[in-house]
C-alpha cells in the first residue's frame, strides 16, 4: 500500500514537476537570451564607435600631412638683372622683430632664442610668440635664419598651429629692428620624424638668404608628452 502510494506519489511528481518548472526555465532562459543580446549589442556598438573614432583620427592626420613634402621647385628667374647689386650685405641686416604670415594668420612678436643647458634649441616661453635663434644668421642676411614657434600649448593652438598647411609660393614677412622688411617665398614644407631630424640640412650653411620656420607636428605621444615629428617650412628671400 505504502509502496503503491509512494510509487504513485513519485510518478505523479515526475509528471507534474516538468509541467510546473518548464515555463519558469523557459522564461529564465528567454530572459538570459534577451540579456545576452542586449550585452552583445552594447559591446558591438561600443566597438563600432571606438573603431570609427580612431579611423576618423587617422583620416585627419592624413590630411594634415598632405600639405608636406613637395619639391623645392625651380625659381627660375628670367629677365635682365641690371647691375650686380644682388649680393646681400652684412651689417645692413637688423634683428628680426615682427613676423607676419598672412596665409596662416600669423602676426607675432619675435623673441630671442638661445640654447638650453642640454644644447637643444630653446623654445619661446609662451606658445603665442615665435622666436629667432640668435646663433643663426639674421633674416635676410646670407645663410639659413631659424625662427621656431609652438604648434600648441597644453590648452590650445600656438603661433605656428597652421604652419604645416603652408604651401609653396606663399609669403613670409619679417620686420627687422632697423625698420626694414624682408620678404621670403616658401619653397618647400617638410615633415621630419624627430628621431631623424636633419640638423645639418636645417641649420647648416646655405649660400643665399633663407628662412626656416620650425614647429612640431605629426602624432602626439601622450606617454612622453611630445610630438613625434617636426614641420619645417623652407623659404628664400625675394626682396
Amino acid at each position: 500500500m505504502t509502496r503503491v502510494l509512494a510509487g504513485r506519489g513519485r510518478t505523479s511528481a515526475r509528471h507534474r514537476r516538468p509541467r510546473e518548472r518548464r515555463p519558469i526555465a523557459r522564461s529564465a532562459g528567454t530572459a538570459l537570451v534577451v540579456c545576452g543580446l542586449l550585452v552583445t549589442a552594447v559591446g558591438l556598438g561600443g566597438w563600432a564607435l571606438v573603431s570609427h573614432g580612431s579611423r576618423g583620427h587617422a583620416a585627419s592626420h592624413g590630411t594634415s600631412r598632405d600639405g608636406n613634402g613637395f619639391a623645392a621647385g625651380a625659381r627660375g628667374k628670367v629677365g635682365r638683372i641690371s647691375g650686380p647689386s644682388k649680393r646681400p650685405r652684412r651689417g645692413s641686416v637688423g634683428r628680426p622683430y615682427w613676423l607676419l604670415i598672412p596665409a596662416i594668420g600669423v602676426s607675432s612678436d619675435v623673441v630671442r632664442l638661445g640654447l638650453t643647458a642640454a644644447g637643444t634649441l630653446q623654445v619661446p616661453p609662451t606658445a603665442a610668440v615665435a622666436g629667432w635663434y640668435t646663433r643663426s644668421p639674421r633674416p635676410g642676411g646670407v645663410g639659413s635664419s631659424i625662427i621656431a614657434g609652438h604648434i600648441d600649448s597644453k590648452l590650445g593652438p600656438g603661433v605656428f598651429y597652421r604652419l604645416s598647411r603652408m604651401r609653396r609660393g606663399e609669403y613670409v614677412y619679417v620686420i627687422r629692428a632697423n625698420h626694414t622688411l624682408a620678404v621670403f617665398e616658401v619653397t618647400s614644407v617638410r615633415t621630419y620624424a624627430k628621431s631623424g631630424f636633419p640638423a645639418k640640412t636645417v641649420y647648416g650653411p646655405v649660400p643665399d638668404a633663407e628662412l626656416r620656420l620650425i614647429t612640431c607636428g605629426g602624432t602626439f605621444d601622450f606617454a612622453t608628452g611630445s610630438y613625434l615629428s617636426n614641420v619645417v617650412v623652407y623659404a628664400t628671400l625675394i626682396r
Binding site: G29, L32, V42, H61, A72, I81, K194, K200
Partner: protein, 294 residues
C-alpha cells in the same frame, strides 16, 4: 566552370595591378630623394680680370637661345649674389658691356649644376688670356670652425702672401690662382695680404659655420681685400629636434576596442546559455530527485 573564370579574372587583375603597384612603390621610394630642398643649385658670376673692361654676363640654360639671366656692365672686382637655378647644364658667356646679345661672346663656358651644389663662374687672368673658371663652392664646415679660401686677382702684385693673425693662409699665391678651403678657428681675424711692394689688411669676422672667399684685388694704386660670404649657417647646431608643442590640440588616442569586443562575446555566451536553457529537453532538467528506493 564559374570558379575557374573567377580565378582567371583574379589572375589577370593581379597581372595588371602587380606592375602598377610596383611602379607606385618605386615612385613613393624615389619621391623623397627628388623632393628634398634640392632640385636646384646655386650659381654666382664674377669678374676678376684686372685689365679686362666691363662685360655683360649672360647665363643660358643649355640649348636655350634666350638668356635666363643677364648681368649688365659687370666691372672688375664685382661678384654677384647667388642665383638659385634648376639643376642642369648651363652656358655662361661674356660680351663687352653694351654689345648686342646676338654678337659672338668674348668668352664662354658650360657648367653642369648639380642639385644642392653651389658654383662661382669667374672671369680670371689677364685680358689677353681671359679664362672663365668654374669654382665649386663648399657648403659644409667642420664643427665650430669657419672655412676660408683665397683668390689672387691682383695683377700688379704677382705673388701675394695672405695671413690671418699669425696663421699663414697661403704663401706666394700667383696671380689668377686660388687656394682650396682652409679651416680656421672662429673669430674676428686681422687678415693681411702682402705683395712684393704693397700690403693691405682688413678685420674680417670668420664666424663658426660660415664659409668665406677672400679676393685680393688691385685697387688703383694699392691692394684691396674683398670678403665674400659663400655660405652661412648656425654658429652652433642645436642638438636634437626642437620641442615646440605640448599637445593641447592633439587628438586624444583612440581607446582600445578590446573591452567592447569582450563584452559582446560575454553577451553571446549569455545568449547561448539562455538558448540552451530554453531548448533543453525536460528529461535533462536539473533538480530531478533520484528515484526513491524502498
Amino acid at each position: 566552370m564559374r570558379i575557374k573564370k573567377v580565378v582567371r579574372r583574379c589572375g589577370r587583375l593581379a597581372l595588371l595591378l602587380g606592375p602598377a603597384s610596383m611602379a607606385l612603390g618605386l615612385l613613393a621610394y624615389a619621391a623623397p630623394a627628388a623632393s628634398a630642398s634640392t632640385g636646384t643649385g646655386w650659381l654666382r658670376l664674377a669678374h676678376l680680370s684686372p685689365n679686362t673692361p666691363p662685360v655683360d654676363v649672360y647665363l643660358y640654360s643649355f640649348h636655350d637661345p634666350n638668356a635666363m639671366i643677364v648681368l649688365d656692365h659687370v666691372a672688375y672686382g664685382t661678384v654677384s649674389g647667388y642665383e638659385t637655378v634648376p639643376a642642369g647644364e648651363y652656358t655662361v658667356a661674356m660680351r663687352g658691356a653694351g654689345a648686342s646679345p646676338s654678337s659672338p661672346p668674348v668668352i664662354s663656358t658650360t657648367i653642369n649644376v648639380r642639385a644642392g651644389d653651389a658654383y662661382t663662374v669667374a672671369g680670371m687672368g689677364p685680358a689677353n688670356g681671359l679664362q672663365l673658371q668654374i669654382l665649386r663652392d663648399r657648403l659644409t664646415t667642420p664643427h665650430g670652425k669657419a672655412l676660408v679660401r683665397i683668390i689672387q686677382a691682383s695683377l700688379v702684385q704677382h705673388r701675394v702672401t695672405v695671413t690671418a693673425g699669425h696663421k699663414v693662409l697661403v704663401r706666394n699665391l700667383q696671380f689668377a690662382k686660388l687656394t682650396s678651403y682652409v679651416a680656421v678657428r672662429a673669430g674676428t681675424w686681422n687678415v693681411k695680404a702682402s705683395g712684393v711692394s704693397e700690403h693691405t689688411s682688413a678685420s674680417i669676422d670668420l664666424a663658426a659655420g660660415t664659409i668665406h672667399t677672400i679676393v685680393v684685388l688691385d685697387d688703383p694704386g694699392h691692394l684691396a681685400l674683398d670678403d665674400l660670404t659663400d655660405a652661412a649657417g648656425s654658429r652652433v647646431i642645436p642638438a636634437g629636434a626642437p620641442a615646440t608643442g605640448l599637445g593641447g590640440t592633439a587628438p586624444r588616442p583612440a581607446p582600445s576596442s578590446l573591452p567592447w569586443l569582450l563584452l559582446a562575446a560575454c553577451g553571446l555566451l549569455l545568449c547561448a546559455a539562455g538558448a540552451r536553457w530554453v531548448f533543453r529537453p525536460h528529461s535533462a532538467l536539473p533538480n530531478r530527485r533520484p528515484p526513491a528506493v524502498t
